[in-house]
Each structure stands twice: as structure tokens, then as C-alpha cells.
Symmetry: C3
């Protein structure tokens, strides 16, 4: 009977050792350790909106210029931005942070972009930054970029951000919904 | 004898706990969890190849322009690209994806570049993207950049990509072989 | 008494299993596995310092140019750099590597920047590269960017780099102190 107890105890211990007390490095079920949803608003300088513009074309192909987005789906236009981040889809809501960085339109046949940027927070809610990079095939309803790092409250974060174009007004304004799922939280 | 059995059982359990059932966070032998080899092809716009060009100079130093690569080893030229990815070294093979992003020539004395880009796949073979960043001292036979993230089939990937210039034709075409070794697979 | 021994043994084993032999994935105390401090020196081309310049404006907003940093806190200026890295704060010390990549000034109301760059080493001390990305609100005494990857000696590194402006001379020279703390070392 003692031996039976021993076997049972060891069996239970083994079971336990596979459970959450000993997390495996590659969880099969990918449950985010943190999830955040934001909106950000991009108003591109077009020669007439100097005051409201949050973004400007700073690079363009030889056939383009820095005031009007180039033809061929803006291929080659490089934009620098400092966009307000809001909790809802209203441009005039109180910003909770800034989305800062660059994007380039990078395909002649269709709208696609490549993004390198950060979310910068300095509020009571969040302090720190989340860094992103990735391709944005922006005609798709949703598309994923990588969370490549974070600082402050988001120290060492990694994950996926799902972008969705929430609004698009001509060539002067767009609003992205960003659904951030972190899978590495420290 | 019962005590001996207990000691033996615990010893075996301890051994087991050090083995693959409980992977250590820092493997001493760095074996990739995934390996992929691709080629991509960059045809730079030079004022006469508008139709075939897959890349264009969109930023240049004060002494340069956006049609001809600048002197001093192209220092300061910033290029946006949307290059076909192929499985072999033939430009005319069926593309399996697109390499999209930017590179900048960043040294006056010798050719070097800095890259931020993505491989974007949407085929039966691969769906998703791999994101890269890093320095490319392109006169070296091989050089390593970082895989900083991935999406879709490459969810949360990290690793190293070894670049090799496979062909170089004047200032209009180059082909890179990219040997991707992922060390974090989810 | 045998049962008591069993309980004690299992209790000890459980204790052991929580200790360093089985590292948890999310250490509560974040101790770097590697720490490095460097300085790098940026001399921006201004039309008169062609020989000494290590950086050049290659993108600018419509209202700017590539020789003089734009007004509105240089918003939209995109700079390519190849800056010497030194161990101390002396520009004329022997460089131990190069800081290469891009930065963009990205806010109209105050100086802030976004950085994508690499430290490239090829000495007896260090061989390999460290890749960085992040926001640099450069009026803050210190600010953190992400170490998003590494190669060679810094294979697969991740961590945080704390930037501090160590000197600033008009619009032609600045020196950053970079305190690199890696939290993932392979």
C-alpha cells in the first residue's frame, strides 16, 4: 500500500509539473498576456493644412513631390508622423499618447505600406512606449504588424498588432484601429 | 527497502525534470527551429526603367538626386522597394512573396546599408510575414541581420537572416540570397 | 513514519522545483544578463563640413531643405548616419564600432525623434551587431529605446538602451551616451 501511495504521489507531482507552475516555452494556445485597443489619426500635410497636419511627406520618388502624394499608388512616398492616439474613434477625444515614426508606400500596383513607429505614453494610465515594425497591405480589412519591443510599463514586450482602417478621407486623413496583443510580458 | 525505492524514484524524477520536458530558456546549442532560404531581386529606378523598376530612390543627400545613386558610395541614398521573392536565383521564376521596405546607404568610405523590411507571403505554402532589421556591410560575403518578429505562419518568430549578394549588375540590379534561421518558433 | 518521510521529500522537491533549477519565464527582478555603455558622435552635414560630417539630411518636409535643419523643431527631417562609437565621451578617442542607421525628427512642438539603427562592431573586443528601434523624446534627460535583436557576439539579444544627450553643439554636433542592458542573452 505504501508503494501504491508513492506511485500515486509521484504521478500527481508529474501532472503538476506540466501545469502552470512550470510554463512551457511554446504555449500551444496563444493567449495574450495583455491586450490594448487604440485609435490613431493621421492628417497629412497637403500644402494648405499646415496647422492641423500631424504628418508630412519627407521623401518621394523622382516623379513625385512632397506636397501631393505620388501617382502609382503613392509608391515611394515616405511620411513622418506624430499622430494623436485616442481610446475611441473620435479625432477630437483627449489623446492618451502619440504614434510617432515613419511609413512608406511601397508598391506601384496597389496601396501597401511599411511601418516603423512607436506608441509613446506619458499619462497616469500608461508610461512608456511600444515599438512596432511591419508590412501594412492596407487594402486588406485587417493586417498584422509586429510589436518588436517596449519600455516602461511595456518593458520587453513582444506581440502582434492588428491594424484596421477605421476611416479614410481622400488623401488627407485616415484613422487606424490598433488591436495590440502582447504574448511576452515581463 | 521502501526508503531506497523512494530515493531512486525522486532521483529519476529530478533527472527527468532537467530533460526536454522542462526546456531551459537559454539553449547552449543553437539549433534553428525553422530554416528557410529565398532570393530577392532589386531593380532600381534610373530614369529609363520605369516599367521594370521594383525600387526607387526617395531620399538623397544635398549633393545627390533621386535618379542617380549618389557619389561617396551612395551615402545618404534612401531606397523604397517592393521586390519579388523567388525560391531560386532566377529573376523570372514565379515569385512566392514580396520583400518590402527600405534601405539606406550609410557610409561614405565603403558600401554599407541599413535595412528595415518585411517578407510578405500569401500563397498556399506560406501565409504571413517576417520582419527584419539590421546593418548590411554589403562588401562582406555574408552578413547577418535580425528577424525581429513575424505574423501568420511566422507568428512571433525571432532569428537571424544571413544575406549574401548573389548577383550585382552595375547600379541597376542586385539579387540577395537570404538564409533565414528562426530560433524562436511558436 | 514512512508516510511522513514521503511528505517531507515531496515538499522539498516542490520547493526545489520553484527555485533556480526551473527558471520562471517572467522574472520579477529584472537583472540584465549583459550591460554595455558606449558613446556615439553625430556630426550633421551643413553645407560646409563635408569632410567631417558623419550624418546627412536626406529627407525633409516641403518647407525644408537638405542642408539646414527645418524649422518647427526640425519636424520631418530624416537623417542618415554613420557615427563613431567610443568608450568615453571624447570624439577623438579610437572608435570601437559604428552606429549606423536613420533618425527622423517627428514633432512640430518640441524636439523628438524616432530611431532605427545598429551598433556594428568588428574588433577583438566585440564582433557582431546590436539592433535598436524606438522613440527618442530627446528633451528628456534619459529615454529608453528597444534592443530588438543582435548578431554575432550579441546573437538574439533583446533589451533596453537608455539614451542620454551628453553634449549638444548648435545644430551640427551631438553626443549620446548609450547604456545598454540586455535581458535576453543566448
Amino acid at each position: 500500500m505504501e508503494a501504491k501511495t508513492l506511485v500515486l504521489a509521484l504521478f500527481l507531482l508529474l501532472l503538476l509539473s506540466q501545469s502552470s507552475a512550470f510554463p512551457s516555452r511554446k504555449p500551444r494556445v496563444h493567449k495574450p498576456c495583455k491586450r490594448l485597443v487604440f485609435y490613431f489619426h493621421d492628417v497629412i500635410y497637403n500644402g494648405r493644412n499646415s496647422k492641423n497636419a500631424t504628418a508630412a511627406i519627407v521623401g518621394a520618388p523622382a516623379w513625385g513631390n512632397r506636397t501631393i502624394l505620388a501617382n502609382q499608388n503613392h509608391f515611394g512616398d515616405l511620411v513622418v508622423f506624430d499622430d494623436p492616439i485616442t481610446l475611441d474613434n473620435n479625432l477630437h477625444s483627449a489623446p492618451v499618447g502619440r504614434a510617432q515614426g515613419i511609413y512608406v508606400y511601397d508598391k506601384k500596383e496597389i496601396f501597401t505600406a511599411w511601418l516603423g513607429f512607436s506608441f509613446v505614453f506619458n499619462s497616469t494610465e500608461h508610461k512608456g512606449s511600444i515599438n512596432f515594425a511591419g508590412a501594412d497591405p492596407l487594402m486588406n480589412k485587417t493586417r498584422d504588424v509586429s510589436v518588436i519591443g517596449g519600455t516602461g510599463d511595456f518593458f520587453m514586450a513582444r506581440g502582434i498588432a492588428t491594424l484596421m482602417t477605421d476611416a479614410f478621407e481622400g488623401e488627407v486623413y485616415f484613422r487606424l484601429r490598433v488591436d495590440i496583443r502582447l504574448y511576452e510580458c515581463w
